[in-house]
Symmetry: C3
Subunit: 265 residues, 3 copies
């Protein structure tokens, strides 16, 4: 199931071009490096289309968006599409403001996104199924989220990843669950953003997108589990450092043995 993908990332060292928020940008860069990719952040409309040409994947994150940044995202996304470079969209806080909702929808209209990764509220809102968001946090209950995600995947002809205690991955046909992870991940700002960066590393080296996403989330979640065992971890601050350590130390063999990927459909 894991198909030697972690080894592949480390061998190919894909460049992962991020156009992302300014809150978690350093974390995204570091987790990319710990996973085995090379991070690059470039935002300006004058350079994004050129920068993405060298990339193995493009990660778009609207966490602290501006209209100009959305233009850059669309420009980079279109160039990525021309070159068959996969694109991840993390629609952070969609539904919280019109700017976020309209921008996410516009990106989805103008760019063929390979993966949409969001929390339950974000995916539900994008799918048009309603949802409640407090800032960038999903609140409320989402009973049929797998079905909602499947509908969104079909409509957008892409893979949808719903992050949560149990991650759901679907391309509209297949449905896969990933149960790796640790509760402390939710106590650190940016683990959601980081999971998109890790996903970027894996879809850069594997064409089967559902599988690449599943292995990416299993790897990141397993690193989260292992980090919680580090002897000095005593809360979110130390845990975050241990998470980078664990991701860098993760081996393919461990991933093969300890992934909790479940194919549902």
């Amino acid at each position: 199931m894991t198909k030697d993908l972690l080894n592949k990332v480390r061998k190919q060292k894909p460049l992962v071009h991020h156009i992302t928020n300014n809150v978690t940008v350093n974390d995204c860069a570091n987790i990319t490096l710990c996973t085995g990719g090379l991070p690059v952040m470039a935002y300006d409309v004058e350079e994004v289309a050129q920068m993405v040409e060298a990339a193995g994947a493009l990660v778009l994150n609207i966490g602290t968006l501006s209209p100009q940044q959305v233009e850059a995202m669309i420009m980079a996304g279109k160039r990525a599409n021309q070159l068959n470079i996969p694109v991840v969209l993390d629609p952070v806080g969609v539904g919280a403001t019109s700017l976020r909702t309209d921008s996410a929808r516009r990106i989805l209209q103008e760019v063929a996104v390979t993966v949409i990764k969001g929390n339950k509220a974000e995916i539900s809102i994008l799918a048009g199924a309603g949802g409640e968001i407090k800032g960038v946090e999903s609140i409320g209950e989402y009973h049929d989220i797998a079905q909602t995600a499947t509908a969104l995947a079909r409509r957008q002809k892409c893979t949808v990843v719903v992050s949560g205690q149990e991650d759901i991955i679907t391309d509209g046909q297949q449905v896969v669950l990933v149960e790796n992870g640790h509760s402390l991940m939710g106590a650190v700002v940016g683990t959601g953003c980081m999971s998109a960066s890790v996903t970027g590393c894996f879809i850069a080296v594997e064409d089967n997108t559902v599988q690449a996403c599943a292995v990416a989330l299993a790897a990141f979640g397993l690193a989260g589990e292992l980090a919680a065992q580090a002897p000095f971890v005593n809360g979110p601050g130390t845990y975050k450092m241990a998470l980078f350590d664990a991701m860098a130390a993760l081996r393919q063999q461990q991933l093969d043995n300890s992934h909790k990927i479940k194919v549902i459909k």
Copy 2:
């Protein structure tokens, strides 16, 4: 004195909307989460007024300001005023450049700020009492800083917090000191900004602003004291991680027992 406020923050999980600098933004987000609030960062004029509607408090920090960001701050601040959402202003580096001084003054003119939190130089400069700043660092001596802060609080009809080895909090009538804290906090970039975020969490749940500020600074200072006792702490890098751990682990009971809040007037 502490009025169960830490528990209240953790129960209500107030959204704290930040328009802040790009140096310490990740730290502000993490300390908000560790305190019990939900951080959100949103900067663009097209979304700030809408984002703040869901917030329990708005934190404005001019650490890396631009004229456009100041517009966004005023827009968000005015909307917060309409909805009675409290506003914290952290006038980072005021006095160092005309842009900072003019912007801080303009924000104070156009927005009814609930709390101004600054170091001695920043408060003194805003009060019109002179002051010397080196970049964003207060230098020089400030003999009558409590009096200066009182004058500023009266003029602006707000609460003024002067951070320092001993924090001073005044609304122009009451004067309260908070003596919690640790010298290593000064060795980490961003502890000043973080204290504004913590303040945002507390004023979101308590209408008595002087009290909310005092408890916020006592809680953050106590976390700073406890962090210094973590066994692996060996300098500013490890201390910063321990500070997040300590803030997340802090309990109301500890705060009740170990706060050093002194009502002077």
Copy 3:
């Protein structure tokens, strides 16, 4: 050789004005403080010329540049030149896009830069000797890099620092190597940017630029060596924290005893 420079930094506490990228900005601020300087970040064209007046050094880093930021860099750089304040340019990712290449060249034309610090590809590209860059990472082999750096230093009448396993420093006449450092530094995003900040601290207190750069890189590299010995270090996350600790704890005596500065020419 080390001329008491670390003590001098700590005594003079130079303000180091950064116009830098948003990925590693927090790291640059913290390493400046750990070294003994005072960091300030200010980017807007309306304030940079005024902010730099108080600075001991100006650090320009094009890691996430925009045309407006380049204007600000040139404005600050020209003011620094008028006041004889030294300027460090870190041409991050030059060669990866036209915007980066053109901007770096324009800065070098309009500002008298004191130090250019880059990886092998960046220095080679700036020198016009070709070079291959993947995002912001140097790839490929550079056989005559000392000679290339010397040519660039002569052309620009400045000091060139080539970072690598062994750092090369040259003003076009002298050539100095610094062999301090540790392989884990390459596993942390931002150590390159941080070394420019440390360099800023040292050139602020010493007119002999080659010597100031050599001592700066030896100090940072030695901190990197000492950090690797911290008992809790278990990967890039914990190492980064240990690096800040080690830089803050570094003493002049240790630097005198353990620097690996070699004067070649």
